[in-house]
């Protein structure tokens, strides 16, 4: 079994071969699915915990604070301690709540983000499933989360959570459009919806640079829209702690609350990794056409680190959004989408189509 940190293709191939030689194909597939499931679950939990810690530290430094620094060196274990606290807390049953929906809602939210992570390429060959409609799949799956939010808000039998859920519904339904359209702009440029093809096409330069003006517009629009879609930053109307105390998850406690919390951070990770993959070349190192020496140096850094670096860069920008801007009002939120982002996006799609047709790109 050969293993290379630069290319996982041969590793996964040989693993597959090994399993198929020793058992029937049904069992081999089952074991592979189990391995991938456990792997993604572990990755999911780790990244979630790390993101919570990172957010605390980033916002602390922005706000002239130190952030968590008591549990473990530099407070690294703080989020794990918090997780245990949440695990051990009582799950408060709500009188007059719709019990079934109330209990299902956090799972819907977390499953939606869990499904989306399957299609993301982490490195060359490190890819749970490579759909030929990868982008379409991710958009479709990630918009399922809103059902969980709506159910949570409605079934809690609480006025604050109901308002929060209604806001969230209006928000996500409208911002789906912008996310979809800005990704479609890049799909036009790439000519494919398959993530592996999109990443491979950025070997000589990232789409953000190759697609110049329309790509940059699409990138900015995507950043804004995906921040809104993850209910974060200036668009956290569904939670709006100064207006609705905690919005849709006001009645949840313990691990169910932790699910919402974790899903929020994982959604942020997912949209950031899609942005990194589509606009910044995913795991592809920074290459400049013609400079083979420079490209060779860049290739030394393993692709996985490129991917993580780019993703965290975008996550940092989203955190900066959240800790700088005041919250929008619900009508301004919809105005921003329908009067600004959507028209800009539509013009941008046409512009991109023209550029692709005439070959005016790098």
């Amino acid at each position: 079994m050969e293993f290379s940190i630069y290319d996982f293709t041969s590793f996964t191939k040989s693993l597959d071969k090994l399993l198929n030689e020793n058992m029937s194909s049904f069992w081999a597939t089952s074991i592979e699915m189990l391995l991938i499931g456990v792997g993604i679950l572990a990755f999911y939990a780790l990244v979630g915990l790390f993101l919570v810690y990172a957010e605390r530290k980033v916002c602390a430094f922005i706000q002239n604070r130190v952030g968590p620094n008591r549990v473990g060196p530099y407070g690294i274990i703080q989020t794990i301690a918090d997780l245990f606290k949440l695990l051990m807390k009582e799950l408060i049953p709500i009188k007059n709540a719709d019990k079934l929906l109330f209990n299902i809602a956090p799972f819907i939210v977390i499953i939606a983000s869990f499904l989306a992570i399957a299609a993301i390429p982490f490195a060359k060959g490190l890819h749970a499933i490579d759909f030929n409609i990868g982008i379409f799949y991710v958009i479709a799956v990630s918009s399922m989360g809103v059902i969980g939010v709506l159910l949570a808000g409605w079934s809690s039998n609480n006025k604050y959570s109901l308002i929060g859920a209604m806001r969230s519904g209006a928000q996500i339904v409208s911002y789906e459009l912008s996310v979809g359209l800005s990704l479609i702009t890049m799909v036009i440029f790439a000519g494919s919806m398959q993530f592996s093809v999109i990443v491979e096409a950025q070997r000589d330069g990232w789409f953000l640079f190759r697609g110049h003006i329309p790509a940059i517009i699409a990138f900015v629009v995507y950043l804004i829209a995906c921040t809104a879609e993850t209910n974060r930053g200036p668009f956290d109307l569904a939670e709006a702690e100064s207006e609705l105390t905690a919005g849709y998850h006001v009645e949840y406690s313990g691990i169910k609350f932790a699910f919402f919390f974790l899903a929020e951070y994982m959604n942020m990770f997912i949209v950031a990794s899609i942005a990194a993959t589509v606009f910044l070349g995913g795991w592809m190192p920074l290459h400049v056409g013609g400079f083979s020496g420079f490209n060779h140096v860049m290739d030394f850094i393993p692709p996985f680190f490129w991917y993580i670096g780019k993703t965290f860069f975008i996550i940092f920008i989203m955190m900066l959004f959240k800790w700088t801007f005041p919250r929008l009002r619900i009508d301004q939120l919809l105005t921003l989408e329908w009067k600004y982002l959507l028209p800009i996006n539509l013009v941008n799609v046409v512009l991109m189509a023209l550029i692709v047709l005439n070959g005016w790109h790098f």
Binding site: C59, I62, Q63, N64, R65, K159, Y160, I163, R167, P234, D236, L237, A240, E241, S242, E243, L244, T245, W323, T324, F325, P326, R327, L328, R329, I330, D331, Q332
Partner: protein, 374 residues
């Protein structure tokens, strides 16, 4: 007996009642706002007060005149020194004592420092009400410097009790003037940062401009004073109208804005911080020599009569009304608190606006609940 019909008395059809408070992050204390809403739009607001009523006015009737000072701290705790000053001025007025210029100067500087500190805290919480959490920490960071100045001279940070009838508890600390000058230098540098972070922000301007309008007539009839009233063109600065302490020795402008919306109230407060710094700068180097407290009798007895003194607190006009029967305890004390009248205008301002606007308007009124309930 509670029946289906009994419960719904007074609730119109299709009204959705949302209870904001007594425990709600944006009411800044234990205020309860019963809002009838329709979708996102607030149709009517009914403030319910009294969750932190401590009977301060009644308590004063059992205390001697110097003892009452420490209760005035606990009304509007963010402008504690100004409340102290108002009460002491009222007692001095009754006793017909003219305090020395040194006392007047120090009291004025302390009041203006309190005003800056209070407005800084207002800025933090206003930013936080709008959802910009970082504002909160920047504001508190700078407020800490004023509190350190207070602590060094007065011995306490929030509940200060620095004034006494006839003077001050202690003379200023030798470091006082140096530290105040340092602070003004520092704060003149950081105040533009506030503007950069929040005032200029397009989201904040959209949230505030044209929201929570109150006309000059309404402001006068509701008695909306202070920065909230001056945001609607109501010229009500007691420091200008009836100069007390050292305000007659300084040049300053009354900040007035005529838009009458949340943004106007916001800008009045931001400009008032600058104006307060001007006042302090004019006074800080010229504190005259003199006693820090006038000689008073061991037991203060006010001559029989009624006395009223008003001052400009950080949130508006603060008045103290004392009825004396010539004993060592007052017969009755009434505090005219600015927040109570300001709150009464909330319904006019926030009617037919969104829920999020209600929060912004509440933030711009800057109410302190212990002052409302007393």
């Amino acid at each position: 007996m509670i029946t289906e019909e009994n419960i719904n008395v007074g609730i119109k059809e299709e009204e959705f009642i949302l209870n904001m408070g007594p425990q709600h992050p944006s009411t800044h204390g234990v205020l309860r706002l019963v809002c009838s809403i329709k979708g996102e739009i607030v149709k009517n607001i009914e403030p319910h007060c009294g969750y932190i009523h401590r009977g301060i006015e009644k308590m004063t009737e059992k205390l001697t005149y110097p003892q009452i000072v420490h209760l005035t701290d606990r009304l509007d705790y963010l402008s504690a020194l100004i409340n102290n000053e108002a009460y002491c001025l009222c007692v001095e007025k009754a006793l017909e004592i003219e305090v020395s210029d040194r006392i007047k100067y120090i009291r004025t500087i302390m009041s203006e420092l309190t005003r800056i500190a209070s407005h800084q805290l207002w800025w933090c919480s206003f930013g936080m009400d709008l959802g910009g959490l970082t504002c909160f920490f920047y504001g508190l960071r700078d407020r800490e410097k004023i509190l350190d100045i207070f602590e060094e001279t007065c011995g306490s940070r929030l509940i200060i009790s620095y004034n006494t009838p006839g003077g001050l508890m202690a003379d200023i600390h030798p470091n006082f003037q140096k530290k105040v000058k340092e602070f003004i230098k520092y704060f003149r540098k950081t105040l533009p940062e506030y503007d950069q972070l929040l005032t200029g922000n397009v989201i904040m301007q959209e949230r505030c401009k044209g929201v929570g309008y109150i006309s000059k007539e309404d402001a006068i009839s509701y008695g909306v004073t202070g920065p909230s009233g001056r945001g609607s063109c109501f010229s009500c600065d007691v420091r200008k109208k009836e100069p007390y302490s050292a305000y007659k020795f300084v040049n300053f402008n009354e900040v007035l804005r005529c838009e009458g919306d949340t943004f106007a109230r916001y800008m009045v407060r931001m400009d008032e911080m600058r104006e307060s710094m001007n006042i302090i700068e004019q006074l800080i180097d010229n504190i005259p020599e003199g006693p820090y407290a006038e000689k008073m009798k061991g037991v203060i007895k006010l001559p029989e009569g009624e006395y009223y003194q008003r001052v400009e607190a950080a949130r508006g006009e603060f008045g103290v009304y004392i009825v004396s029967k010539g004993e060592k305890n007052p017969y009755r004390v009434k505090f005219r608190s600015p927040n109570f009248s300001n709150l009464s205008a909330l319904n006019t301002m926030a009617k037919n606006q969104k829920i999020a606007d209600l929060i912004a308007i509440g933030g711009s009124l800057d109410y302190v609940i212990p002052d409302i309930d007393r």
